[in-house]
Symmetry: C2
Subunit: 153 residues, 2 copies
């Protein structure tokens, strides 16, 4: 393995870490196309779901339950979309993927952050692939603060 | 619960069942936008990943390993995209989702079925949302036959 963004995460990259268990970390995603979008990342370099250990798999169950409960309680998510894709690693001629899972909370009501209103206009449908992931820094901070407060209770 | 397509699956709906374990069934999907696309369906009516029992969760791990190994061995998939979305149930004013998971094999080389060539033109990227899922009936049968043969070994 030459270099892996997830193995060699900088201090800045850990800035939005919401939670960590023995084997996994949960980060607020850089892209906030849906407010509260998170990434669940395995701490160990492992290429696929098939290669998780029994312990890692069991912990993932707890993490899904915790993250889903948090996004429902704090932001009012109606459900969460979970996906384990790993596609972009395969642009490389010698792919060396690091397992991570995307969590997109879906909303049937608008989410308000610092007076800004976010509407999930594709609710009931597949998440849009071309939606902007940029939100004001203070709104990202606000989401982070609220989710972390709930997770740290 | 009024009516659930997955709970009340017809004989015809079970036509493309590839595999079944105690708690789960694996079907070849109606949409074959990527050849070998499957759906893993819980046999019990349950709304979300958070509400799976420990036994169902453990079985899911085995099923993921088996399905991924099968799609790699039989069709040459480079990886699989796994997603648990459930969005369309939320078009209903009183959503009553039934847990299922989409499996999309992704290909860095063309797949040939009965002389027809299928290319994953978005390989290395998110799967396309607008790709046609229709393939000739005999090609769907051929995929089904090959996958089932491997799973029944």
């Amino acid at each position: 393995m030459e270099h892996c963004d997830w193995c060699d995460l900088s201090e800045e990259g850990r800035r939005f870490q919401l939670y960590e268990s023995r084997s996994w970390s949960v980060f607020l995603a850089d892209e906030q196309d849906l407010p509260g979008r998170c990434i669940v990342v395995l701490k160990r370099h492992c290429p696929s779901l098939s290669e998780l250990t029994e312990e890692e798999w069991d912990e993932l169950r707890e993490l899904i339950r915790k993250t889903e409960a948090c996004l429902k309680a704090v932001l009012g998510a109606a459900l969460c979309n979970w996906s384990c894709l790993m596609n972009s690693f395969y642009k490389d001629p010698a792919p060396d993927p690091h397992l991570h899972i995307h969590v997109r909370p879906r909303y049937d009501k608008p989410v308000v952050l610092n007076g800004n209103t976010y509407t999930d206009s594709e609710f009931g449908h597949h998440y849009a692939l071309n939606r902007s992931g940029a939100i004001p820094a203070e709104d990202k901070e606000e989401v982070f603060r609220r989710l972390k407060e709930w997770l740290d209770r």
